[in-house]
C-alpha cells in the first residue's frame, strides 16, 4: 500500500508544513475527500528533537487558530450536540503518504471519525428523503 503513494519527501529533504500540509485537502486510500488538515501535532522529544507526530482534523482546531476562545465554544457545542462530540481527530504522520496540493492519507476515511457527520446526516435525514439515491 505504501508503494501507491511514493511521493513523501525522503530523509533529509525539507518539508514545508505550513505551505504543503496545513489547510490542505486530505484524501484517503479510496480518494475520498476527507476534510482539511486543520492542525499539526509536534512533540518535543527528550533529546531535543521536534517530531511531527500527527495531522489533525476538526472545526474546533481550525477555529482556535483564529480565536482560541471561540474554538473552545465550538468544542463545547460539539461535546453537547456534535456527532464527533467536539473531538479533533488525529491521523498519525506515518500514515501521510503525500503532501502538496492534496495530502494523501493511508486510511479508510469511512472507518474513522472523518466522515461521522456525513454518515449521521445520511442515516438520520438524507436517505429518508425521496430521490436521495437518484
Amino acid at each position: 500500500m505504501a508503494d501507491d503513494f511514493p511521493d513523501m519527501p525522503e530523509n533529509g529533504t525539507r518539508l514545508r508544513l505550513a505551505r504543503d500540509v496545513l489547510d490542505s485537502q486530505m484524501v484517503d486510500r479510496e480518494h475520498r475527500q476527507s476534510g482539511k488538515v486543520d492542525g499539526i501535532v509536534a512533540e518535543l522529544r527528550d533529546d531535543g528533537r521536534l517530531v511531527i507526530t500527527a495531522v489533525e482534523n476538526g472545526l474546533p482546531e481550525a477555529v482556535s487558530r483564529v480565536s482560541p476562545r471561540v474554538g473552545d465554544w465550538i468544542a463545547a457545542l460539539g461535546r453537547r450536540w456534535g456527532v464527533r462530540k467536539g473531538e479533533v481527530y488525529r491521523i498519525p504522520f506515518n500514515k501521510v503518504r503525500r503532501t502538496g496540493i492534496e495530502v494523501r492519507i493511508d486510511v479508510d476515511a469511512v472507518a474513522t471519525p472523518l466522515l461521522d457527520w456525513e454518515k449521521w446526516l445520511n442515516d438520520h435525514i438524507v436517505r429518508h428523503i425521496p430521490g436521495a439515491r437518484w
Binding site: L22, G35, K36, A132
Partner: protein, 407 residues
C-alpha cells in the same frame, strides 16, 4: 477545433448569455437607465471586461490544478485568513439568494396577481427540488438556455430606435449629469451586481464538476470572453429600454413592477409577459447557482465531499448546506421584505467585500504550484491589479454612497 469542442463552446456561450442576467443586473441596469438614460453604459462595459477576466481565471485554475478557488484560497492563505471572506460571503449569499427568490416571486405575482410573499415557500421548494434531483449539467445548461428569452431586452432596445449617437456616447466615462451621489451609487451597484464574488467560486466548482482539464483552456477562454461579452448586451438592453421608456416619463425604479413597463413600451401585452417570464427564469437560474455556491464554498472550505452531480446520499453535508441556505433565505421573502430594496442593498454590500475575495486571486494565479506553466501573463496581472484597485475604491465608497444617494 473539433466539432464536438465547437459545440461545447457554443453551448457555453449560449448559457453565458442566457445566464447573465439576475435580479441584481436587472434592477441596477433599469435604475441606471431610468435615472441617467445612457450615461452609465460605460460602467456595464468596464464591469463586463472585469467579469471576463474574473471568470476565465478560476476556470483555468480548476482545469489545471483540479482545485476550486475556495480550496486554493484556504490552502494558500490559511484558515485564519479564509474565515473572513467566507463569513462575508455567507452574509451576502443569504441576502442575494433572498433577493433572487424574491425575483421569482415577483415574476409569479406579475403573472398571477397573487402577492409575492405567498410564493416564497413554493419557489424555495422548487429551487430545492431542482438542486436535489437535477444534475449540474441540467441546472447550468438547461435553465440558462431557457434564459435566452432575456434577449427580449435586446430586441426591445432595437425596436425602440434609441438615438444611437447618444447610446455610443454612453460608453465614454463622464461625470454625473445630475444627482452625483445617486449616479455613483448606481455605478457601484452595477459593478457589485456584475463582479459578483459567487462567480469566482461557482465557476471554478463548475469546471471541476464538468471534469475540465488542460485541453479545455481554450474553450474556457472563449466562453469567458465571447459568452460574457454577448451576455452583457442583454444587460445593456435592459438599460437602454429603461432609458427609452421610463426616463422620458420621469418614472423611477422603486419596485419591479415599474421595470415591467420597459418591455410593455415596445411590445405591449407580449412585453408584459416576456418581462415576467424573463425575470422568473433568470432569477430561478440565479437561485440555483447561489444556493449551490453556498454548498460549494462551505464544503470546499472544510474539505467535505461535494458535487451537484453526485447523489445526495454521496455528499450529505454539501446537500444539507444548500438546503439550509435556501431555507434561511426564504424567510426574507416570507416576512415580506421588499425584493428591490433587498437587491440594491445586497449589491452595495457585495461591493464592500469584493477586495477580500478578489485579492487572493492575484497570488494564486501566479502560483506555479497550482498552475504550472499556465500562470497569468503580465497583461492579465495588470488587469487584475486594476480590478483589485477598483474593488478597494468601491468598498470604501459603497455604503456612504448608499446613504447619500441610494434612495
Amino acid at each position: 477545433m473539433k466539432p464536438g469542442k465547437l459545440l461545447q463552446v457554443a453551448l457555453g456561450v449560449l448559457t453565458s448569455i442566457g445566464g447573465f442576467l439576475d435580479v441584481g443586473a436587472i434592477a441596477t441596469a433599469a435604475d441606471a437607465g431610468a435615472s441617467f438614460r445612457f450615461s452609465l453604459l460605460w460602467v456595464v462595459l468596464i464591469g463586463t471586461i472585469c467579469v471576463i477576466f474574473l471568470v476565465e481565471m478560476p476556470g483555468r485554475l480548476a482545469a489545471v490544478s483540479k482545485h476550486s478557488y475556495a480550496d486554493a484560497v484556504r490552502e494558500r492563505f490559511g484558515f485564519q485568513f479564509y474565515i473572513w471572506p467566507i463569513l462575508a460571503e455567507f452574509v451576502v449569499d443569504f441576502l442575494v439568494l433572498g433577493a433572487e427568490i424574491g425575483g421569482v416571486c415577483i415574476a409569479l405575482q406579475l403573472l398571477t396577481g397573487i402577492a409575492f410573499h405567498w410564493w416564497a415557500i413554493p419557489v424555495a421548494l422548487a429551487v430545492w427540488l431542482t438542486a436535489w434531483l437535477g444534475t449540474f449539467d441540467f441546472i447550468e445548461n438547461g435553465v440558462a438556455l431557457l434564459g435566452l428569452i432575456t434577449l427580449a431586452f435586446v430586441a426591445g432596445a432595437i425596436v425602440l430606435h434609441p438615438p444611437w449617437g447618444e447610446v455610443a456616447r454612453g460608453f465614454v466615462p463622464a461625470p454625473a449629469p445630475h444627482e452625483p451621489a445617486h449616479y455613483w451609487f448606481t455605478a457601484v451597484s452595477i459593478m457589485g451586481a456584475l463582479i459578483s464574488p459567487y462567480l469566482l467560486y461557482f465557476y471554478s466548482s463548475g469546471a471541476i464538476e464538468d471534469g475540465w482539464g488542460k485541453q479545455d483552456l481554450t474553450m474556457n477562454r472563449l466562453v469567458a470572453g465571447v459568452g460574457m461579452s454577448f451576455g452583457s448586451l442583454v444587460q445593456m438592453g435592459v438599460l437602454v429600454t429603461a432609458a427609452m421608456v421610463l426616463a422620458p416619463r420621469g418614472i423611477g425604479v422603486d419596485q419591479y413592477g415599474q421595470i415591467a413597463l420597459t418591455l410593455v413600451g415596445p411590445f405591449g401585452k407580449w412585453g408584459y409577459y416576456l418581462f415576467a417570464v424573463s425575470l422568473g427564469i433568470t432569477c430561478f437560474g440565479a437561485c440555483m447557482e447561489q444556493a449551490l455556491e453556498t454548498g460549494f464554498i462551505v464544503s470546499q472550505a472544510l474539505g467535505w465531499n461535494w458535487g451537484q452531480s453526485k447523489r445526495p446520499v454521496d455528499a450529505t453535508r454539501f446537500t444539507m448546506a444548500y438546503t439550509l441556505s435556501i431555507a434561511a433565505s426564504t424567510v426574507l421573502m416570507v416576512v415580506g421584505i421588499d425584493p428591490l430594496k433587498l437587491t440594491l442593498f445586497s449589491m452595495a454590500l457585495t461591493a464592500v467585500m469584493l477586495p477580500l475575495v478578489v485579492t487572493p486571486l492575484l497570488v494564486i494565479m501566479n502560483d506555479k504550484h497550482y498552475l504550472g506553466e499556465h500562470t497569468n501573463g503580465w497583461v492579465t496581472n495588470a488587469v487584475v491589479g486594476l480590478i483589485i484597485g477598483l474593488t478597494f475604491v468601491m468598498a470604501v465608497v459603497a455604503i456612504p454612497l448608499e446613504y447619500l444617494g441610494g434612495g
